[in-house]
Symmetry: D3
Subunit: 232 residues, 6 copies
């Protein structure tokens, strides 16, 4: 039975919104390297960096009807996550639907299928992470679900989870963990900044992370070119 | 027998040139969702939007000789469509051939293979939609055809058809239908503008297109999260 | 036995640095169409054009430890070439490692795997040619080699070879041939400039390269559309 | 926190086992065209057709440790579902692990990554549906989860769900729906058999399903070749 | 306007049927290396080798309605060619439709999309060349065309053309050329048999085709390993 | 300068021939998980398992001339390794060339491109590992090299190295290491057989390899389903 779940619980909106600044790579690391979507999901234009709470929907092949249904369930600060149930490249989404969602305050769209009108969407300032850019139109005949757990980009998204998306891709932060992930992201950034300064001063990871001993234990050997050519 | 057809009939040049402004997605819709090339054909730089009449050629694997032959058949306002007869990624086209075609007033190139010198081509202002960016050179040994019907990007192109290409991809408008497609594109744009205003005012597709009843008939059910968790 | 070769012989640094201005397509042609890496290796941002001497390393699946080891072997003017021993898309490289390499005067990275932090790397001005953009992190558990011959992007790279990389891709110039390749590149550019002028004046390749006779010998026939339709 | 859930609830084992006879295509249809894994998952040999209850695990890139952990959680009649958290092709599974699972009465393996020793696995009679065949070995360094919900082949699998796999691919039947899906599968088969007899007698779908009127309403026109050539 | 062309002209049926024995590679060569479909079209089982006259149809994304319409237009000895207008992997065809077509004497199906029920189709003896094996079902909502020229597998197929398909793939022979292609195939086979005997007797292509002189002219040099290592 | 190196040093022929029995996965492990070719190289038929010494050649795009040249350099027990310098899918090799090589006692072909006549090659008993099956023909116009180091399937092959190929893929054993790899393969097989017996007796890898303690140290936790649902 196709359903629309209407009153989903969302992650804390302020925390959700704050995760964008850390970026996908850091958030993904901060939560233990889980929740990253497949690299096939790419932004339609560079430079967008967003985060927000997920409204989810599933799309039958070549059918974008449920995006219209899902739009009504979206609130300001949300990100729409449109999963497919079969590999799909058609253009399920264009600038008119972008206008609908932007008007409702939606931050962006993650869609494991095709997107079209990408120049207009960039002009509108509505970012989309998609599998393809494709103008092929879709129909409105078959139902899917809205706000159920979905598999999108090879990872599970529950409605109300936090989505973070930038030029590096898309990551999902499960609802309820957003505060801990924010704290871990801040800690990671702080540590990285410290290391960055040491790197800029010319230090090496070999010394900062004390790798030399462990490399030697594992058997790494330093040889001259002459030794290598003879020993080969 | 390899042939060059020299006096092809072209679609009306003014109408052909006018289709660019509607864009690929609209033109594709306006003619009943036919003629779109596969999404693997991507522009080598963003922002180009062209339309014009097709000169066609076929390319044997790794051989770009027929592009030189086809160049002579091109007139101002044309777009060259280079089809391959086997999957190919070599760089069949670069800035020198771009200079040849631009000098003749050609609008751009559609090639179901690789392109190189993409920075130079962007500087030259000669747009290319290609399958790959690849510097590997080609030879001039085997003949193909010029101005015969070709299969390019998964669709048939007849010489003299109209090609429309932008950031969304490439679509083919059969010669003889260009006026009707232009009219249908104008009508579609007008309708979209009306709907865009309603969208910007906060209306939903569910109401504008009166979808609610049909969704209910098909069995779409709205439930609360609590209901969904129990009912599951 | 995993090894690090420490005192590799490098191609002449001035010649290595000079090849960038010719670009990948020209250098590839100038050395007889060899040494081009697969088109899957794409720059993470447009407009970078570099050349330099190769430091090489091999990466086990999901493990970027050897990049830290290789960093120490890099000198100003080098380009790091990171090969994988199995298909890999994880983000082996990000802005911190970019800082390390940039601080050492490295020109850029060629990696047959994923890269992350691409916005930060563009801001830093450290170009990367990679197979994917992917935020998935890597571990530091398994050894590889540094400065041995590697297979990267479908071609062999020996440490000390010259790498040239731009928007068209990546090409390898074997150490010892760099001066000859530079001379051949200059000759090619000079010849291309002469032909470009003729193209700009409206001449065709058919005439410049005297192709018409050979095309006729191979059997190319020019027919009118009417003839073609009847003869078909 | 990586966890192993030890006492999962399983779908009814007899019903789970019975679904194999209907096959993937029928079961997928019978449950409303949901739950099908991506077509990239292919059997390592033809002719295997199994069904059973899912034990799930997640695999870090290039690391098969959790298959050993999951093996202990498997019971006779189970099917192991090994999801990955990043695109992976290494050979996470071979004939030794096949021996472990077969000894425990496991029906087969679904793995969204690579498999090796495929000739030995066929000789052993242990079927695997995998993304690749690849001999590259894996390590045992990083933890994942066992018996949590996973995203495998683009669909969600909960531990205890029913898996059906044959030459057409893999489909997931949610625990609790298996009896209804079995009944619907039986009904579908019965209906198909009736239609098959009519097809074998030379009837057409156009008549059996009374399509002609609806096709005409949608505008399908029958024309002679002469009419089509003129009307074109 | 979607059309069904009802009285297409077919290639000579006896010649069409006779081409299967030569095989795809020989027929493709015999007609000058044209008309080969892309290698993504693979047989669902090994060993089938067919030829016959094409009935064509186009399939909208995820919609197999037109296969039912096309079935009525098929005669004994035909091969159905189902083209798509967008990349598609769903299972548009299964054993029931296979029964319909086999009952009408159709030789097989070429479909640039997915196929399901492949074990049943093999048992039925109805061969299919498809892009994917995928159980995902399709709908019957949108019209396409029957017996118009189509672009399938990257090549143009006109209704009534001859299709040849075997383990090497699929090739199209234009109607009207089938007798000449048959004669050329016979000549090619005869010549190959003669060369095969010489090969079996230990002769080399270098001598049979007198390649040595031309290789030397092009600059091929024979060196000893010692020379090569020094000269390198 | 294209060269043919005529008197390459080969690995010990008896040891080379003996490696086939261990299989690709074992040999790959025995030499430290190096030298495996990419999984895109698949056998054209199942069940072949060969090993032998490599004769190498490079193939320009769409040109198979050098296979004829390489054939003359092959001796009984060799395996021909044909690398490409650009992505290629044409059918560079068919049953006639298969006859040439089989007559010379060659064990099989590894080709990072397309192969045709696969039914005939299976009947002939000449196995090929290729990237594609494709009937598209090639030309004989451009030179490559024979018996130089090549990059094939993402790994370096030196002439005279040992190649092992079976249903799991292809692995390269560097000349000079074949005896050590054989010994390591034997040791690995012996150890695996011992473990297989324990597995068949119902023991788990967790106990055989004493993994439980290390898993706990890394933080793996066992929980009941109830605990997991609450703790979530």
């Amino acid at each position: 039975m196709p359903v629309v779940v209407t009153d989903i619980k969302r992650a804390d909106p302020d925390t959700a919104a704050a995760l964008a600044e850390f970026g996908v790579a850091t958030v993904h690391e901060a939560q233990g390297r889980t929740g990253l979507m497949h690299q096939r999901l790419r932004p339609i234009y560079k430079g967008a960096a967003i985060s927000g709470t997920a409204v989810t929907c599933t799309l039958p092949p070549g059918d974008n009807w449920m995006i219209h249904v899902a739009a009504e369930q979206c609130q300001p600060g949300d990100i729409l996550v449109a999963a497919t149930i079969a590999e799909a490249h058609s253009g399920y989404f264009g600038d008119l639907l972008g206008t609908v969602l932007k008007t409702r305050g939606v931050q962006g769209l993650i869609i494991d299928a095709g997107c079209r009108d990408i120049a207009d969407l960039e002009a509108l300032g509505f970012p989309v992470w998609s599998r393809s850019v494709c103008a092929h139109g879709t129909v409105k005949e078959v139902l899917g679900d809205v706000n159920v757990p979905v598999s999108c980009g090879g990872t599970i998204v529950n409605p109300g989870d936090v989505i973070v998306a930038d030029d590096d891709g898309v990551v999902v932060v499960p609802r309820g963990t957003e505060a801990a992930v924010k704290a871990a992201s801040e800690a990671r950034i702080a540590k990285e900044e410290k290391n960055r300064k040491r790197y800029e001063a010319g230090e090496l990871g070999l010394d900062i992370y004390k790798m030399r001993e462990r490399l030697a234990e594992k058997g790494l050997t330093y040889v001259s070119q002459a030794e290598w050519e003879n020993g080969k």
